[in-house]
Symmetry: none
Subunit: 219 residues, 2 copies
Amino acid sequence: MRILLIEDDTVLGAAVRDQIAGDRQSVDWVTRLDTAADALYGASYDLVLLDLMLPDGRGIPFLKALRARGDVTPVIILTALDQITDRIAGLNAGADDYMIKPFDLAELSARIGSVARRYAGNPNPIITHGPLAVDLAARSVHRDGRPVQLTAREWALFETFLQRPGQLLSKAQLEDKLYTFGSEVESNTIEAHVSRLRKKLGSDVIETVRGLGYRLGAA
Amino acid sequence: MRILLIEDDTVLGAAVRDQIAGDRQSVDWVTRLDTAADALYGASYDLVLLDLMLPDGRGIPFLKALRARGDVTPVIILTALDQITDRIAGLNAGADDYMIKPFDLAELSARIGSVARRYAGNPNPIITHGPLAVDLAARSVHRDGRPVQLTAREWALFETFLQRPGQLLSKAQLEDKLYTFGSEVESNTIEAHVSRLRKKLGSDVIETVRGLGYRLGAA
DNA sequence: GCCAAGCTGACACGATACTGACGCGATGCC
DNA sequence: GGCATCGCGTCAGTATCGTGTCAGCTTGGC
């Protein structure tokens, strides 16, 4: 994960950089907003740590401009400003989280992890669904705490359901999703895979809507 | 948006409730974890505000248990505990955000909005009709919050009414709509399906106009 | 009170879905 | 390179479910 740290305090900046590096993340550290803008323009970051008081301007307008031009990179604000109005302004400007100096570096790590996971598209690193715990990034599924091995096709099918919770998916839609054009299947392949998935994950995971298709169970 | 507030301090609880209500959100306020568990079990909330110190237990194990059984409802922790370790424990237990008392109510609103936006995941428009909530895309119907399973024919019939609210539809029209040319039906099929729909959705959903046909109830 | 229209429980049949078994092809390991 | 393993598409037999039909009952109009 690539992180851009925008912080002019050299002591704090170095401490944050070392903490993050210790978490096996890659950090670029800049001390000015104009170099930050260049960095964001030229490269892609997974997360921005933004100090609000910088030598060449304030962070809030910078953040607003960033969002205005469509950048959705998650931003955690680091600031000494303890004014509640500033915190609100920061959140409203599009920040994802807030750390007030002085803060604990371990907490910063926790929050970076939290925001990064959110950004990965999931509210949590682990999506839990009834007795199932799913890590989309790691492609792993646990049932009642026990790991379950899914094959590629099984995973593709299950993931399709997870991405559309509650949505009814016809067999035709699922075939489109699982098979590229040309490599059509002609039999009850989807039924068979649903059957295999149920055997591994539990019979209530996917519910049948007869004549129409399948959907993820309410669980 | 439905919010569950778990807070035993009556003064703070009332203030939070009023603030949220002022934001046009619906709030249920409980003061104990066991009633909170009941509420979460019985209904669906979009957000939980959780105090960590409650008369019948602490919030962190409660939150862990919630996540363990698959509930992904976003949770914001409200607490007087200013220990950094507690804040990390809260985030690790699956909380989405943290507010340390005393906090500003406007900031709470901002954070609720932030969390809600993050989770605003329902792209499907929900049509509500009296006690019914219908998601046309997902082909799902809820009555009084409870899901109702409709078969293919039942859905086709119900959808026909929904697309023409208030309009009178004769049995012949409905047959044309539900059956393709050639696969005619010869008996009281429509009556039978209306009967089944009423049994599932409530007797007042479809009203009979004797001699002419049916129409969607006023609800 | 009579008749027509509508309602609904029961039933049977056809359609649909489930699942264990099989075989082919791809992959991995000596 | 040969052998074992594994994934997966297919098939067939079985189980399940939906729904059209009917019969008996209820309701409503006159």
